[in-house]
């Protein structure tokens, strides 16, 4: 009477069904996932080596990669040009701190994964966001999916990611993409929809094709919002690296995991601090890229 009328059988069957789907995908689409794996690694591995100052591949000269001081120099230069002197000084200090604490190589591994995931997220998310802004139907369909992606605990898709791609960097990157892409899609969509209706009307009235409308009016005007989306995307990707280190991604997350596993609180804390410092640097720099545009436009 006071028990909820539950049917364990339905839940069981449903979960079995999904197991079946995943198995089926793993078996039948293996070549596809191998190809994706190879593609991601082709992007990620050289980037990682490049940032860590190692030869890009066996037998390649080392001078093709960046020594640590050049990485710092280039980053500080970018910070100085986009965000001004204060952020450049902050970047220098944080970077030197990372190096002194012995976290520089870990930080570069994390940066490589974050960059790769962000690039893939932009390549996928930007077109989806644009399409969502142009079509209300697409918007209505994508909204609940994005909600699910944002609220679904990431551990849930880490496992199938391992089944599909095997342990290592690729499932980490793909899981990061899934976790980090929703804000980019949402903000791209929002940015384009927010473009002043009269400006869009004007562009059409003067004979723009829909492609011209997008490239000459909507995207430039939505740029600050899209940049905010990319910023959010990078931040979320950074936050994901600790979790991804559980499935074989290297980087600062490994330090955190090791610290937890060995009950070395200080070590874990330092790793976490490294992530925070990275986050501050990247956030300030990417934010100012969006802002410098914005102040010019409004």
């Amino acid at each position: 009477m006071f028990d909820f009328p539950k049917n364990l059988e339905i839940g069981y069957q449903l979960s079995r069904l999904m197991d079946g789907w995943v198995d089926w995908v793993v078996i039948n689409f293996d070549p596809l996932f191998r190809a994706i794996n190879a593609g991601v690694l082709a992007l990620l591995v050289p980037l990682e080596k490049f940032l860590m100052g190692e030869p890009l591949s066996y037998g390649w000269p080392q001078w093709l990669s960046m020594p640590w001081w050049l990485v710092i120099g280039v980053t500080v230069y970018i910070a100085w040009r986009t965000a001004g002197r204060n952020i450049a000084i902050l970047t220098t200090v944080l970077f030197l701190l990372l190096a002194i604490l012995g976290l520089f190589d870990f930080a570069m591994q994390t940066l490589a994964i974050t960059f790769t995931a962000t690039l893939i997220a932009i390549a996928i998310g930007l077109p989806i966001g644009i399409f969502g802004a142009k079509s209300d139907k697409m918007d209505a369909i994508s909204r609940p999916i994005l909600d699910a992606m944002q609220t679904m605990p990431s551990f849930v898709y880490l496992v199938p990611a391992i089944m599909l791609f095997g342990l290592g960097k690729t499932p980490a990157v793909m899981a990061t993409v899934i976790y980090a892409i929703p804000p980019l899609i949402r903000l791209t969509n929002l940015g384009i929809r927010q473009v002043d209706k009269e400006v869009v009307e004007a562009a059409i009235a003067f004979g723009s094709t829909s492609r011209q409308l997008l490239t000459k009016v909507q995207l430039p005007m939505a740029k600050p919002t899209i940049m905010a989306g990319i910023n959010q995307c990078i931040m979320m990707a950074l936050a994901m690296v600790v979790i991804c280190s559980m499935i074989g991604a290297k980087g600062l997350g490994i330090e955190v995991m090791n610290g937890i596993a060995r009950l070395e609180v200080g070590r874990g804390f330092l790793g976490g601090l490294g992530i925070v410092m990275m986050a501050i640097m990247i956030d300030r720099i990417t934010q100012s890229v969006g802002k410098s545009r914005e102040s010019k436009v409004t």
């Binding site: 009269e198 400006v199 004007a202 436009v297």
Partner: protein, 400 residues
């Protein structure tokens, strides 16, 4: 459907309907919709009616003003003319072609060549500077930058913004931004300009200035203009022809004079109530025929006799063609008779004041006020048509 248009008609709109909603075309097949009220349609179908059987014609080089309050459908109407809004039913013929039959490519070509548009909030591209904004319509056509900047810079010169080419819109005042908007439309050298409440967002002083400038500009460029406004004064000032819209339908169209003197219904009457008639009425509408005129060949003695018999102390002298030569007063005639002149025209005052028949009454008030004799009204060829007196001008002011 090819319907013959008179050659000097540029825009011909017939039976245009617009219902906002997903099922507009099918709904218009149902008879009850055609006569139902706006509220009834909305309640029964969820559709909002924005245009109801709108028909009008605009001749080449004329300014057609559509006047209405918000929600009257005037913005929808102007957007239908370049198909920013797709009408539900009807015909829009521009130079004899029904633009509603155009496919996507044709409509883009049409917008690029034939029709320019000016927006209420200017609609400028905030990330482009002034010259690139003006050249935008040329840019999307694929014109080279050097060439399009040359054209844009000429147009900017015309609207008085030549030193602002490389400023951004946010650096400009509202009036200047709207000049950029007008320049952008002119850069395409279109035959038709659509202006959607272009001056509504401006201060009253700037607004008047812009209206005057538009009149000057229009005299130079002679475009066919469809001008939307909610301001009756603006409509009367700018429009060769005025249409008044309410709830999607045109309830009256005609010249400014017709609208003010013969309002079609109570709604229009209420609108024009505060309009001073002297600002709309032309001299021709209050002039009277002179009781008598003197032919130049008649002798002073004959003139004196005519004036005495009609009880006039002031009259006009005309040539055989009817052309006004001058005026005579009683004293002049009497002295001419004494001097023994053979014809009257030796005695006349050739510089007597005269006004053209389509001058606004408002503009002749100062002249008439200081003149204690009647003022002659003539047409473009100097032919005497009639006269106006202080009393008739006063009564036209009093009746408004």
């Amino acid at each position: 459907m090819a319907v013959e248009s008179a050659p000097d008609i540029r825009i011909s709109v017939r039976n245009l309907w617009k219902l906002f909603g997903n099922n507009d075309k099918a709904l218009l097949q149902e008879d009850w919709v055609k006569t139902a009220s706006k509220a009834e349609i909305q309640e029964k179908t969820g559709h909002v009616i924005a245009m109801r059987e709108v028909s009008f014609e605009v001749a080449v080089g004329k300014v057609f003003v559509v006047m209405g309050l918000s929600g009257s459908g005037k913005s929808t109407l102007v957007r239908a003319l370049n198909r920013l809004v797709e009408p539900s039913d009807g015909i829009i013929e521009i130079d004899g072609e029904d633009i509603l039959q155009y496919d996507n490519e044709q409509i883009i070509a049409f917008r690029r060549k034939k029709i320019g548009m000016v927006f209420q909030h200017y609609g400028l591209l905030p990330h482009k500077n002034v010259i690139d904004n003006v050249a935008y319509g040329l840019e999307v056509q694929g014109m080279e930058q050097l060439e399009r900047h040359k054209i844009a810079s000429e147009i900017l010169d015309k609207v008085g913004l030549s030193s602002w080419e490389y400023s951004y819109p946010y650096q400009l005042s509202g009036g200047m931004q709207q000049r950029v908007g007008i320049a952008r439309a002119l850069a395409l050298d279109p035959e038709i300009m659509l202006m959607d409440e272009p001056f509504s967002g401006l201060d009253p002083l700037i607004r008047r200035e812009m209206q005057d400038e538009l009149i000057t500009l229009q005299a130079q460029v002679q475009k066919t203009i469809v001008f939307i406004t909610h301001d009756l004064d603006e409509a009367l000032k700018l429009g060769d022809h005025i249409a008044i819209m309410r709830d999607g339908a045109i309830i009256q169209q005609g010249t400014a004079e017709e609208i003010v003197t013969k309002p079609a219904d109570g709604y229009v009457k209420e609108f024009v109530r505060d309009i001073s008639k002297t600002k709309v009425l032309k001299v021709g509408s209050i002039m009277k025929k002179p009781k008598a005129t003197i032919q130049e060949s008649q002798s002073p003695a004959e003139a004196l006799q005519i004036m005495k018999s009609e009880g006039l102390d002031y009259t006009f002298v005309v040539a055989e063609t009817g052309e006004l030569l001058g005026a005579l007063n009683l004293a002049q005639v009497e002295s001419a008779v004494e001097k023994g002149f053979e014809t009257s025209n030796r005695a006349i005052n050739k510089s007597c004041p005269r006004v053209l028949k389509y001058t606004l009454i408002d503009d002749v008030i100062p002249l008439v006020a200081k003149q204690n004799t009647p003022v002659a009204v003539v047409n473009d060829h100097g032919i005497l048509l009639g006269e106006i007196e202080q009393s008739s001008v006063l009564s036209s002011i009093a009746s408004s």
